[in-house]
């Protein structure tokens, strides 16, 4: 199933991006080559051979929304600009795009190559105007293939993020594997495993109840319950490593592995710390109000996950994937 989901994510992504870009070209979403008229307030003037000006564009929200046929701009636009006159007589305008810029222009700037500015050709502007405000007509630079560019950027960025996340695990992994090894050598892990046997032999009938994997799985679940993410992942990976030692078919997930994974993805935790912290940050009257509801939700997920994992493992197609054929036996 993972194969299908994975290729679906990629194909749907690329085709959607291409389709949206084609649509943007047809309806001219970004108003390429269409001039926009607005009020310009000049705050600074540099008179030299090629005079340049600094100031602000003022566009009422309604005008802006109407021009781009959108509804997302709430407040009137006040966009800083720099106008420069070139030797050829052309007038160029630069719009530095920041947080105060309309979101639509922020998107356009990102699409125009990830720069933090937009450029425009000015077609009507009076250099000698004495008043501090005047009318200006300008055409913004062409913006196209927005989504395809975003997809390309995301593909490369996310590959980078994956490496950062993986390498970031090295430290905590080493720490917890070291502690676990001491616990194992001293026999503490085995003791813990024995205590939990009544539960674990039901959840993982294929794993011998005194196997080191059981100890690591118990510790992982305990860490998850307490919301100790830094400890839960290394302990979970240790459990995976132990489970893999009794895997008859290398490269294929055993029933125990799938069950263990589903327990982890269901995310049962006593205190959903991240969500509570964000609620508190946003001024909630009672940030902890979601503790009970979250436990209920994750409880539903865990029960549904365990039931489906036990049913699905009996399906012929998943059973067949586990059959060991000659030459495929576990060699590691």
């Amino acid at each position: 199933m993972l194969n299908y989901v994975w290729i679906a994510l990629i194909l749907i992504g690329v085709f959607t991006a291409a389709g949206r870009d084609a649509n943007d070209e047809i309806v001219n979403t970004y108003r390429n080559n269409i001039p926009l008229t607005s009020t310009l307030e000049i705050t600074k003037k540099n008179t030299s051979l090629h005079p340049s000006f600094e100031g602000f564009l003022h566009i009422p929200a309604a005008t802006f929304n109407q021009f781009y046929n959108i509804a997302s701009t709430q407040s009137d636009v006040r966009q800083p600009v720099v106008i420069s006159t070139l030797a050829s007589g052309k007038i160029k305008m630069e719009l530095p795009i920041g947080d105060q810029s309309p979101i639509f222009w922020q998107e356009m700037a990102r699409a125009a190559g990830g720069k933090e500015k937009l450029e425009a050709d000015v077609s009507s502007f009076s250099i000698d105007e004495k008043a501090s405000t005047q009318q200006i007509i300008f055409t913004l630079e062409k913006v196209s293939f927005v989504k395809i560019k975003a997809v390309t950027k995301a593909a490369i960025e996310y590959a980078d993020v994956a490496v950062t996340i993986s390498l970031g695990l090295i430290g905590v992994m080493a720490l917890w594997l070291g502690i676990m090894k001491v616990g194992e050598t001293a026999g503490l892990l085995q003791l813990l495993t024995k205590l939990m046997t009544p539960i674990t032999k039901r959840l993982f009938p294929d794993v011998p109840p005194d196997h080191p994997a059981v100890g690591a799985m118990i510790m992982n679940m305990a860490a998850n319950m307490l919301g100790l993410n830094n400890a839960a992942t290394p302990l979970g990976l240790k459990a995976m490593e132990e489970l893999n030692k009794i895997n008859p078919k290398a490269g294929t997930a055993t029933n125990a592995m799938c069950t263990f994974l589903v327990i982890n993805t269901s995310g049962l935790t006593l205190i959903p710390a991240t969500a509570i912290a964000i609620r508190a940050g946003l001024g909630s009257a009672d940030p902890g109000i979601i503790i009970g509801t979250s436990i209920f939700g994750a409880g539903c997920a865990t029960i549904a996950g365990l039931i489906s994992v036990k049913i699905l493992q009996r399906l012929p197609r998943y059973k067949k994937a586990m059959e060991v054929t000659e030459g495929e036996a576990n060699n590691g």
Partner: protein, 182 residues
Amino acid sequence: MVEIFRSAVNIVSALAIPLFILVFLGWGFAKKVKVYEVFVEGAKDGFNTAVKIIPYLVAMLFGIGIFRASGAMDFVVALLSPATNLIGMPAEVLPLGLLRPLSGSGSMGLMTELMKTHGPDSFIGVLASTMFGSSETTFYILAVYFGSVGIKTTRHALPAGLIADLFGMLGAVFIVRILFGV
């Protein structure tokens, strides 16, 4: 009652790791284990495990990245919204439910956004934070956990994980509607 439970869990969480280290290493020392040597022996594998995950996580995150950047989510939301309206789930939180198994940071941003717009104590705010708090990033966990031991054939892990996510979401909608419903 909730307050007592919360502070109890907070205390246990704060003490868990130091206590755990103390008990494990102390027990080992008492049992005459050469603690330092054994610790280093175990820790040695940390690097290999982390490096082994890289190809799996690159494959997974790159696929998710393309999907998210393309804006295809909008179409999936439009496709599914009639079904969610039927169970009384507000359309605003559907993108969060869909994104939750795919991306931890992405769904966290969405949840924050929803609470900013509707208020953290509104029905949508409580529902969004419950949905976030009652689930995990299934695809990420799958890639990391299976990747670390070189599992490529994941069998029924993904369907079961997604069924769990679905029921977690339904459970969250159900309980929040009952307790805070409009």
